[in-house]
């Protein structure tokens, strides 16, 4: 059993199938990769350098954007990747011609009641 799984040839991350210690060198396809952070089982490790702002790719599709420069062999998770979807905290999102319907309007959080 391989230590990591690469799902698509387009991916720049692999999934650890067992816990990986920092400093360990693993085989990925024909190449070798030295793990630079401890990576828990099921978490992702960078296969190559991913610059801040670049897409992190798994399953051949983008899963988010790097929020910092990520070195090859580094642990890739919520500390250095951010989702681009559904981010009301940023008030950004993909272009959408769909307006929230009247039902969702009523789902908006109401003003808090007047304490008086």
């Amino acid at each position: 059993m391989n230590a990591v799984l690469v799902i698509s040839g387009r991916d720049n991350v692999a999934t650890a199938l067992e816990p990986l210690d920092a400093g360990r060198t693993i085989r990925v396809a024909a190449a070798s990769l030295t793990v630079v952070d401890a990576v828990p089982r099921g978490h992702k490790v960078a296969l190559r350098a991913i610059g801040a702002g670049e897409a992190v790719v798994k399953y051949g599709s983008p899963i988010g954007t790097a929020t910092a420069d990520i070195a090859p062999g580094a642990h890739v998770h919520t500390h250095n990747v951010a989702s681009t979807r559904g981010r009301g905290d940023l008030r950004v999102g993909p272009q959408s011609d769909a307006q929230p319907d009247s039902q969702s309007d009523s789902a908006r959080i109401a003003e808090p009641p007047d304490p008086a």
Binding site: K58, I63, G88, D89
Partner: protein, 391 residues
């Protein structure tokens, strides 16, 4: 394939096929839920109650959703007969629910707490009716039915890294095979399609289905954004993140594997709305497991294939929910909740096709009457989706 192409089901008067034969006890409103549960318990395990929190204090779309969901269960093919338990002053109309069951050819009765004169009299009357109905539905025999009469719900909950790599792709192969046999598959949880919608839209059989899918995904995303909150508070869940899933896009890409790889997207329908097309239908449900399964069963799904990495126990009152895990530790630690262990895929000792063969065999066995772990343990969770506050 011939050995798995048919199962022993219940042919209903409306030509639909059931895989269970429950006497459904439906409270119209939260106020009659306890009486309904006591009536159903008197004929366990044939009796199935639908305790819910709604039925009054609701306006417009929410009232319609409650009515439509309860009506969908009243005509569901896994139900042999129906008792509607009313209070008497609520919004949901007991007569409409009973009529819905009768239109599907089922025996249906109404017990109303106010007109019977209280909890004890209503419960006693309901138990008398329930015993008669349990006896009459027991005389309905199973007969061979084709796999094409199945609508399969596919669902994941408590996902971890094994879900997208093992259990969801294995379920996807079952979905592809069932559709190639002429059956139907329903996928819910719009928030968990976010990030993978392009892959499903590319598989649409007609442009309208692709446009509908993108519209509903965009609406859910716009709703999340309109709240001014970060969807990461719930998607992925804290457990998903501990399990190695970083973003909703990653979770969605793994989750949509459940819908197969070849199967064309045929239709997009509203919550608990009838699934009418063969092939893959996407239903507009929230990501919360029980609300989602409640809606897909309402749409007509007779069985649910439910993958879980971290382990989750939930079932449904009338449809068997088959639990599948790709995580070997979960298969051991939650053995009483897991029906099928496909962790051999992760350890490279079982192929996806071999796991799909076992899953299809399990599905057909369950359709013929084999109880699932959730059924054996009495997991019958039910929750109707609601969008607006109670008035």
């Amino acid at each position: 394939m011939t050995s798995t192409a048919s199962f022993l089901g219940y042919r209903r008067p409306d030509a639909r096929v059931g895989i269970r034969n429950h006497v459904l006890v439906v409270p119209t409103v939260i106020c009659s839920a306890v009486v309904a549960e006591r009536i159903a318990a008197s004929i366990a395990p044939v009796g199935a109650a639908l305790p819910h929190l709604a039925g009054c204090g609701q306006l417009g779309p929410d009232l319609a959703l409650t009515h439509e969901t309860l009506a969908a269960y009243c005509r569901h093919p896994n139900v042999g007969a129906v008792i509607v338990v009313a209070l008497g002053c609520e919004q949901v109309v007991a007569q409409r629910l009973a009529d819905e069951a009768r239109r599907a050819g089922k025996d249906a009765h109404i017990v109303a707490i106010q007109s019977e004169g209280g909890t004890l009299r209503a419960t006693a009357k309901g138990i008398d009716i329930a015993r008669e109905l349990a006896a009459s539905v027991s005389r309905i025999d199973r007969s061979w039915c084709p796999a094409s009469s199945l609508i399969l719900s596919v669902k994941c909950g408590g996902s971890d890294y094994t879900s997208g790599l093992a259990s969801n792709p294995a379920v996807g192969r079952v979905a592809d095979r069932l559709v190639s046999l002429g059956g139907s598959v329903v996928l819910g949880e719009i928030a968990e399609i976010m990030g993978a919608e392009h892959l499903l839209a590319d598989r649409a059989s007609r442009p309208e289905a692709a446009a509908q899918l993108l519209r509903v995904v965009n609406r859910v995303e716009a709703e999340a954004i309109a709240l001014g909150l970060d969807i990461r508070g719930t998607q992925p869940s804290p457990g998903n993140i501990r399990g190695g899933l970083t973003t909703i896009e990653e979770k969605s890409l793994g989750a949509t594997h459940k819908a197969g790889e070849r199967t064309r997207l045929e239709d997009v329908v509203g919550y608990a709305a009838p699934i009418t097309r063969r092939g893959l239908t996407v239903m507009d449900t929230p990501g919360l497991d029980v609300e989602s399964v409640t809606g897909m069963v309402g749409g007509g799904a007779q069985a649910v294939l439910f993958t879980t990495g971290l382990g989750t126990p939930t079932g449904n009152p009338i449809a068997p929910v088959i639990k599948i895990t790709g995580n070997a530790r979960t298969a051991r630690s939650m053995a009483d909740n897991i029906d099928v262990d496909v962790s051999g895929i992760m350890m490279e000792v079982e192929s996806l096709d071999a796991a799909a063969d076992r899953l299809l065999e399990e599905l057909i066995g369950v359709c013929s009457g084999r109880p699932t772990a959730a059924e054996r343990l009495g997991h019958r969770e039910f929750a109707i989706h609601r969008r607006n506050p109670t008035i």
